[in-house]
């Protein structure tokens, strides 16, 4: 059973978003990491880069497959999780904690309201199983 914390918002591309003040932290969900299998490589944008909703901002690779990361909302990168470069397995081990990927300043904080609640995301995951 996938772990889907209630206090987060979710995208259809299986990312989670955690708002704090005027910033939002983004990672991939437990369901996503489980589907991908062991993650061995990640490519992230740089601090200061602008990311645009619906466009790729990085890649995650498991032992077998490459997946693009699509920006759930637009904004500017204020911090990236550098430790993932050498330890991408943190995404498998702790997707909502040590496996966080980027922190952004959203162009429009209200874009978050369009993201799924945990209940809606739970339904999406179940519909895929």
């Amino acid at each position: 059973m996938a772990n889907i914390p209630e206090d987060l918002r979710y995208s259809e591309e299986h990312e989670w978003l955690r708002p704090a003040g005027d910033q939002v932290t983004i990672g991939i969900t437990d369901h996503a990491q489980n589907q991908m299998g062991d993650i061995v490589f990640i490519e992230l944008p740089e601090v200061g880069d602008e990311i645009t909703r619906g466009e790729a901002f990085g890649t995650v690779e498991s032992t077998k497959a490459v997946s693009e990361l699509f920006a759930p909302i637009s904004g500017r990168i204020v911090e990236i999780n550098d430790t993932l470069v050498d330890a991408p397995e943190a995404i498998n081990e702790d997707p909502y904690g040590d496996g966080w990927m980027v922190r952004i300043e959203p162009t429009d904080l209200s874009d978050l309201d369009e993201m799924m609640t945990s209940e809606a995301y739970q339904e999406l995951v179940e519909s895929e199983d």
Partner: protein, 363 residues
Amino acid sequence: MAETKEMRRTPLHGRHLSARARMVEFADHELPAHYSGVMDEHAAVRERVGVFDVSHMGEIALEGKGAPEAADLLVSNRLASLENGRACYTGVLTEQGTFVDDVIAYRINDERVLLCVNAVNREKVLAHVKANAPGSIEVRDESDDWAQVAVQGPGAVALVDNLASETTLTSLKRFRFTETKVAGATAMVARTGYTGEDGFELFCSSDDATSLWDAITEVGAIPCGLGARDTLRLEAGLALYGNDIDEEHSPLEAGMGWTVKLDKGDFIGRDALVRQKEGGVARRLVGFELIARGVPRNGMAILDESGRTVGKVTSGTMSPTLKKPIGMAYVPSSLSEPGTPIRVDIRGRPAEAKVVAMPFYKR
């Protein structure tokens, strides 16, 4: 909905499901990609013991007087001078000298040879052998009768030996095999593998597969899937049919000249290989390491230093043991020396790499 196709299942299918393996389609078979995870399973084989269900592999028997000599007309390596109870790795080649398949040929006795073939090539090899074997030789597809389990890793030999009360298997040498009882099941036990570790491949009746599997896993072998099988064989520099070798490439190009016995007499593909040897091989399968960050994948282009496409990646992965990106590729012979700088086109980015000697990992 995608079109559904009837998938073949191995006798161990139920075991994979109850172990909650992630199942995938491979060569018309439903097989476990992984159980706990590729990295864990890979490490289990490198450090302890892993067990693989390889029952999807095909088994084609040649039977009759002079079966080893008949097989020698169909393979590049030599069976006629092998003792009974020995096996060899060999190509089955086209007239053009390229791979119909790569197989392990087991010389059971003077009147029986068993070819262990890739699942994806089962029907093709069967037709090829039937079309080209002398009329006095009976050719049979025994694939459905056999289950096959590979026990691999530093603890594998002791583990299987403990389950074989009638025979001492520890003294069985590489590429030799013997028939004995393992955990009560009659098995052909071969000291072979596809992981770069020591171990055995066990052929048993499909009816005995689950009891043998249970006995092996109960004493601590970790079930491993196709994902780990692929990363292990790549680290060990072993080719995978369909990726690294195929009907476009010859054993000389693939660095398997040692499996080609041009002096043994005629075999299918020999003339083409003689010509290729005389003329020189234009391209070679090499190992490479990525110096830049990234993961090379099958199908990516190899570029020379000026940015020109000169070859293609055939296999690639992030090596779980070496913790670096590695791969195999065909490159022009002029770029095949270890140390030669090359580049891999990773989604438009020319990533720095260098040719290295294989295997990447040696136990």
